[in-house]
């Protein structure tokens, strides 16, 4: 392996160096290292900062697949159309967690409510787009490509990747598939199943992988894509190995101490090979990578199960509980870490659901819905955008009040710190929530 680099900054050179040294690098177990990570030792824990460090903002996108029922997430619990439309699914005033404006969080969003109270969580209301589509697949594509009118192949953050370089570490999705959100024309985010990568085959395979994944006349079209994902894997593996080496040798920026890694509970969990199967596990990997100083600017994690056409109440309550535990646990796990101030998490789903329940005890596909934005730098405890009317409906569906592209523009401008134009084809007003 190459000599320890004092800076965790990654450049394309790691591809070359990493390919040669991949076998020696072998197993990387980031998770074991974070307790000893230099920046932690030298930082002054002074409580949450309220501003992002320019150029250091980290966006965590939480994708909720299936169409989350917005009206049972941020609940208009005093509105009679809500109560009348939802005889079995509706929550009573005494069950919910009021947050003002006649709205309340789902009873299971206790951690999120605490974040709201601590002014670290904001709600953007009525998020949607003109001429809403009620298809899961087209709906999710519209969100992830930020292109409601014409289908396009690239994701909104994939276009940001295209515009800003080729390092595969810049955007990481936890899981075994890559959402379109992070797919660009020339660049793509990285999919990882955990915070560590062990290349197999030891000394026999390692030396040859670099030439195997190299460009060549037999590497065109889809074949080039196969080779390219292999090359990205080598680079990502090597970057993670480098982060580990920096931290275990105490060579983190400004570090004087050489404390050995302390294997903790979180370490064991994240060092395991299996991909996390729940949102908490996925966000756990993200937290480990952030703490290790990964040069990643965008993370994506997801959970599914929100398409509750029948018997919604118990299922949705379980999902809310899982979301709440995962998000509040993630924020807590970052709390003492200096990078915490730079992290902004947002949730989104392809659509909300119909105001009135159906006779299966569920709700059918709907339109606009609220979303959460969480972080120390977020101007929390506030609503952004107007609450959609429950009476002035479009074919039984809510009319959106905030264009979702305004949310993306805000994240691009104020978290990632780029001109939103690189990813959105026209200007959208930003929300002043960071």
């Amino acid at each position: 392996m190459s000599s320890p680099d004092p800076s965790p900054t990654v450049s394309r050179r790691w591809f070359i160096a990493g390919a040669a040294g991949a076998g020696v690098a072998g197993a990387t177990a980031l998770a074991l290292s974070h307790d000893a990570w230099g920046r932690l030792l030298t930082s002054t824990p002074s409580g949450p900062s309220r501003t992002l460090t320019a150029g250091k903002g980290i966006l965590v996108m939480v994708t909720l697949y299936g169409g989350n029922d917005g009206l049972n997430t941020v609940i208009p619990y005093q509105d009679s159309p809500y109560l009348q439309g939802r005889p079995t699914l509706g929550y009573k005033p005494e069950q919910v967690l009021p947050v003002g404006d006649g709205l309340a969080f789902h009873p299971n969003l206790k951690g999120m409510k605490a974040l709201w109270d601590a002014k670290q969580l904001a709600v953007v209301r009525g998020v949607g787009y003109p001429n809403p589509v009620l298809s899961h697949f087209r709906g999710m594509d519209i969100w992830q490509t930020a292109s409601p009118d014409t289908p396009v192949a690239t994701g909104v953050l994939g276009r940001w990747l295209d515009a800003t370089g080729s390092d595969p570490m810049r955007a990481i999705s936890v899981g075994n598939t890559l959402p379109r959100l992070l797919a660009g024309e020339r660049s793509a985010g990285t999919a990882v199943s955990g915070g560590s990568i062990t290349l197999p085959g030891g000394n026999a395979l390692a030396p040859v992988l670099a030439s195997f994944d190299a460009p060549g006349p037999d590497r065109t079209g889809l074949a080039a894509f196969v080779a390219h994902s292999g090359a990205d894997l080598l680079q990502v593996q090597h970057t993670l190995a480098d982060l580990l080496q920096s931290s275990t040798s105490g060579a983190g920026p400004g570090t004087t101490s050489t404390q050995p890694p302390a294997p903790g509970k979180a370490g064991k969990a994240a060092a395991g090979k299996a991909a996390p199967t729940d949102l908490a596990g996925g966000l756990g990997v993200v937290a480990e990578l952030i703490k290790a100083g990964s040069p990643t600017r965008v993370y994506q994690v997801s959970m599914g199960g929100y398409d509750n056409h029948a018997q919604e109440k118990d299922t949705h309550a379980r999902l809310m509980s899982e979301l709440d535990t995962a998000v509040s646990g993630f924020m807590t796990s970052l709390d003492d870490h200096p990078a915490a101030a730079d992290v902004v998490l947002m949730t989104y789903s392809e659509f909300g659901r119909r105001v009135a329940e159906n006779l299966s005890g569920g709700t059918d596909h709907g339109t606009a819905a609220p979303l959460f934005v969480v972080g120390h730098a977020v101007k929390g405890g506030q609503f952004y955008g107007a609450e959609p009317s429950l009476v002035d409906l479009d074919n039984g569906n809510l009319k959106f009040t905030t264009d979702f592209r305004s949310v993306f523009a805000t994240m691009l401008a104020d978290v990632i710190g780029v001109d939103p134009k690189v990813a959105l084809n026209k200007p959208f007003p930003t929300l002043s929530l960071i």
Binding site: F137, P200, L233, G362
Partner: protein, 462 residues
Amino acid sequence: MAEATDPTRANIAHLLRRAGFGASPDEIDQAVRAGYRASVENLLAGLTAPDPDGDAVHLPDLTAARVTLGPPPADPTARQAYQRKRRALENQQFVGLQRWWLDRMIATSTPLREKLTLIWHGHFATAFQKVRTAGLMYRQNQLLRTLGGASFESLTQALAKDAAMMLWLDTETNVAGHPNENFARELMELFTLGIGNYSETDVQEAARAFTGWTLSPTTGEFVLNARRHDSGSKTVLGLTGNLDGTDVVRLITHHPASSRFVVAKLWSHLAYPVPTTDPIVGPLAAGYAQDLDVTSLLRAIFLHPGFTSPTARQGLVKQPIEWVVGLARAFGVDADLKPTGGAAPATAAATGAPARSVLSNVLTQLAQEPFNPPSVGGWPQNTYWLNTATSLIRLQFAASLGPRLDLSWLTAVPANQRPAALSHRLSIDGWGQTTLAALNHVSSQPAALVALAVCAPEYILN
């Protein structure tokens, strides 16, 4: 390589990969002797011919948990224990069912039928995760297998009344007055017409036509509950009347948009991905629209010049199921990587609880579990399967193959001929120069050679 320069052989190897899961060198030789057209007819005949090798694969006991365990007890504590037991039994059956189908795909002598069953499974995507009853997933799988090559209308009619489908998309709880739109929407969007070819009103009206469609509590079969059915007038795609679900399926499967949709879907899975507007779709759709016969459509696709074009030859990435089944067939092993050489089929599962097979495990990691697609949209194609995570998982699995397989046939070949021997074995046309240079580097180490070869673009592409 000799094979690479023989266009007929290359076309036939391509046909056998796309219309199945790859063939052995002997099977390719045999098909070359028969010729391309006769090979197409042989594959198509397999859609209805007996499949003794596939049928010999042991089917695990799929007796419904409710039957095995009896009705749930009233006592809350006993009920909890019962639910745990029931869930464990359901999961065990699911795992056994996955092994059965994988072994069937590996063993089959009618590969096109298994391939078409897999394509339809991804099309009418239904997942165990919600259905929870392996016996119903098996029934749906058999339905796809027996009707897959028939008329698309009869296939869709049968699926609309299929128990697993009705549980999956909530048809069984769809009641007049405030209908559940789940099935009606996905039927139009994903199964028959494609988005943009129907309105929201069409969805709502069609949902009314399927009200009262439910499952008999005694037989578990489709039954119409007339009291819950909306027998009022409905208008779907311009047709007005007291339509029921059968009328709606007939109407939409015969709609011109459906012809283009079905043709584009099968072309996309057998040749290369196309939108419904692609010029290749129209003429094929015109032929298909005559009688919606899937077998005739498949014949037209395989005999179409575009099917063997350079675009098609480079046009598909193997789905993970195709990749692992192809490997198992090429190396003569079953879903546990155990040799399939003997006459007796795998019957280990007959005794005791079946464990997850080796191939099931890697398919879970690669995000393509048979009987458990991630959503009703099925699995996306091509670059969906290519990212850093799947690269790593494929490499790890590939590296684990060497010690588990009998590679004496490879070791027996001089090192400099091993890359060619492997391409022959894997029924691909040969290696490009970048791949070959890397393979030559490890040709003295058979395990490493196999690991690299099966992860090479030449084999990852189908």
